[in-house]
């Protein structure tokens, strides 16, 4: 008999009921909430006269709409200039207060992007099922939790029943073998994976990331990888629990303490795929082959190594694919054959649930220290993922390094990753961004996004175009 994958184990332990056609009720341990996808769900509860099934399983923080300049933040809700955004944030406050849900409000020191804050507070624990009305919930899989995004109807469903109706996904293993070369980061690994399997490559699967290169990453690096599992089409990404996981969680506010910690840690050590587990699909990459990546198009699968060039269309046989590439190049104002290093930039964004944690900021600061942002860069934002990340960075003097180099040091939030607040990329502008999506208009109407690692974004800020960060050492 074959063993179980990590996904099988978490699924089985949370199975409340399975119907004949495989539709199952799965118990949810943690529900994360933000202001954009929850108001209609709370309204649904109210209309039906329902209460949350287990209010303490919920954890809320506003992140998408909130301003990131300190002047605006000092004014509290009044500082949110867009009245529609302000209503959304205050509606979250009201709903959390009405339904007795824990919320880190906008100006709480611990507030931040929900996918940064959850793990930081220990609200994300191994073996949990975690959902949130946000596709980047896959981030939490880095701690061995089964975590994925849901729509607003399901947000209401989880609030009311503590369960989700689901069908089990298939199992995919992506193994990255060997040692990661210097200057190549978690972001480059995941962009290379998406470049290889495509944005639908993981559709229908839960992806477990394994292999030496993954195992050697910190939890923050693993979060960057799992965060973008959704960009490969997989709702959930997972990394098996090891000592690094336990070390990260121990002592965090929501983590178990004392004797309960010992028992939990013992149980969590089982959260690995059995050696004889069967995967429906296995993808292998060699870490040594991975170079710093840059996206050139309007889909995260449109990536190339920094040493390479934008692909030319002649060799693309599939008509739909060629059409997509043509459309992407037209939108991006680029042409096939252009060297990646020749792409000129106007803006730089360092932030988002993919890359706004302390290690990301350290990497970026290292590159810009003692240098100045290039003259052609009109805007360069550094937006920490949480108030605590910001505080830590300031205690290390990173804020000063960024400011002296000419970058703006902002308050925590989602910011220009999706530009729901005032931080927006102008039409036609090229942005080196550490975020996760380069869709048309994602960072602002007509904006042109290039996805890169924090070090690559920092290097681009200094040089005004992409440069191979490995050459700067």
């Amino acid at each position: 008999m074959s063993g179980k994958t990590l996904y099988d184990k978490i699924w089985d332990s949370h199975l409340v009921k399975e119907r004949e056609d495989g539709t199952s009720l799965i118990y949810i341990d943690r529900h994360l909430i933000h202001e954009v996808t929850s108001p209609q769900a709370f309204e649904g509860l109210r209309l039906a006269g329902r209460q949350p099934w287990r209010a303490s399983a919920n954890f809320a923080t506003p992140d998408h709409n909130i301003p990131t300049t300190s002047e605006e933040r000092k004014q509290g809700l009044e500082g949110i200039k867009d009245p529609v955004s302000k209503i959304q944030v205050s509606t979250l406050d009201d709903n959390c207060s009405e339904f007795n849900i824990f919320e880190l409000k906008m100006n709480d020191l611990r507030q931040g992007i929900v996918h940064v804050v959850g793990p930081e507070q220990g609200a994300t624990l191994p073996g949990m099922t975690i959902v949130c009305g946000d596709s980047h919930t896959s981030t939490h899989g880095a701690l061995g939790a089964l975590a994925h995004g849901i729509g607003t109807s399901e947000v209401e469903h989880v609030l009311a029943t503590q369960c989700l109706m689901q069908k089990k996904m298939k199992n995919m293993l992506i193994r990255v073998d060997g040692e990661l070369p210097t200057g190549v980061t978690a972001k480059d690994i995941v962009l290379a994976i998406i470049g290889k399997i495509g944005t639908a490559g993981g559709t229908g699967y839960t992806i477990e990331f394994g292999g030496e290169a993954i195992r050697s990453l910190s939890i923050e690096g693993r979060m960057t990888i799992c965060n973008m599992a959704i960009e490969a089409g997989a709702r959930a990404g997972l990394v098996a629990v090891d000592e690094v996981t336990l070390e990260y969680i121990k002592g965090r506010p929501f983590a178990p303490k004392g004797a309960l910690w010992d028992k939990a840690a013992q149980a969590w050590k089982e959260l690995v795929s059995d050696s004889n587990a069967q995967f429906d699909s296995i993808i292998e990459l060699r870490a040594a082959d991975i170079e710093p990546q840059v996206s050139w198009g309007t889909s995260p699968e449109m990536v190339a190594p920094v040493t390479g060039a934008i692909p030319t269309l002649e060799n693309v046989a599939d008509a739909t694919k060629r059409g997509n590439m043509e459309q992407a190049l037209r939108y991006m104002g680029l042409s096939g054959g252009t060297a990646i290093e020749d792409i000129r930039l106007d803006c730089v964004f360092i932030g988002s649930c993919t890359n706004s944690r302390i290690e990301d900021l350290r990497e970026a600061a290292k590159v810009v220290a003692g240098k100045k942002v290039a003259a052609n860069i009109e805007m360069a934002l550094v937006v920490p993922g949480s108030g605590l990340v910001k505080q830590q960075a300031e205690s290390e003097g990173l804020d000063k390094i960024f400011i002296e180099a000419g970058l703006e040091w902002r308050e925590p939030g989602c910011s220009m990753c999706l530009a729901m607040n005032a931080d927006q990329l102008g039409a036609g502008k090229h942005c080196a961004s550490t975020s996760n999506r380069n869709f048309e208009g994602r960072q602002g109407f007509g904006g042109r996004t290039h996805l890169v690692s924090p070090a690559m974004a920092a290097a681009a800020a200094i040089h005004g175009h992409f440069v191979d960060v490995r050459k700067l050492a």
Binding site: R54, S56, G149, T152, M165, G233, F445
Partner: protein
């Protein structure tokens, strides 16, 4: 949930793969705290020539004449014919809300993104996965024949074409029942409330660390929280 009652409809082709949910409904419209009124901003960045904002008078905005949605022959379409990986990206349910509000009740594609696919069923929209070759045939037929309609028979899981053999499609038995009867998911799940409570008690014993108190202000205080009592 609204019952699925579609019997037939005009088909509109959207010949583009990887249509993401930002394409379907841009982020600025996600600031609404309502579920309705998103239809006029469906495909906003492609349908209009200017940048859309919430509370704009959309009737006076310049239309993009080359975008398929604006072509006279596709007005009142209720079936959307799409390409691979439709609905990828963000989990925003505003995407199916916008499609539904505009009038699309059936989406045909060779593949869908998982979260979007799931969100459709919660809103009485039927997403149908068809073989790539069938999708290609449909694109050809729709472009060649103005007013191309399909009959939809969810009960029999069949699409009927005017010009070619019927197409069988798959749909989960449970989802089909919910669509046909307009069943409320939460209501159905709460029929199993005892089962959920029993699971929860067992799980609380087996893995108490997931129910532990935090030292951070959030407490496991079921009475104060007015939590479910079984």
């Amino acid at each position: 949930m609204k019952k699925f009652t579609v019997k037939s409809g005009l088909v509109m082709p959207l010949d583009r793969a990887n249509v993401d949910t930002d394409f379907i409904i841009p982020k600025q419209f996600l600031k609404s705290i309502k579920r309705s009124g998103f239809g006029v901003n469906l495909f906003d960045e492609h349908r209009y020539l200017d940048k859309g904002e919430p509370d704009m008078d959309n009737s006076s905005r310049p239309l993009n004449p080359s975008f398929v949605l604006n072509q006279a022959r596709y007005q009142d379409a209720s079936i959307l014919l799409a390409r691979d990986n439709f609905g990828c990206g963000s989990s925003r349910e505003h995407a199916p809300w916008a499609l539904d509000d505009y009038g699309f009740r059936v989406i045909l594609a060779p593949s869908f993104a998982d979260i979007f696919f799931n969100n459709c069923f919660k809103n009485g929209i039927l997403p149908i996965v068809l073989p790539r070759q069938t999708i290609d045939e449909l694109f050809t037929a729709v472009l060649a024949n103005e007013g191309y309609n399909l009959e939809v028979d969810l009960e029999q899981q069949e699409l009927r074409r005017p010009d070619a053999p019927d197409i069988q499609f798959e749909v989960d038995a449970f989802r089909k029942r919910c669509l046909l009867n307009g069943l409320d998911d939460i209501g159905i799940t709460l029929e199993d409330a005892e089962l959920i409570s029993a699971f929860e008690s067992r799980w609380r014993e087996q893995a108490p660390w997931y129910f532990a108190q935090s030292d951070n202000g959030a407490t496991e205080n079921s009475e104060a929280a007015g939590e479910h009592q079984s």
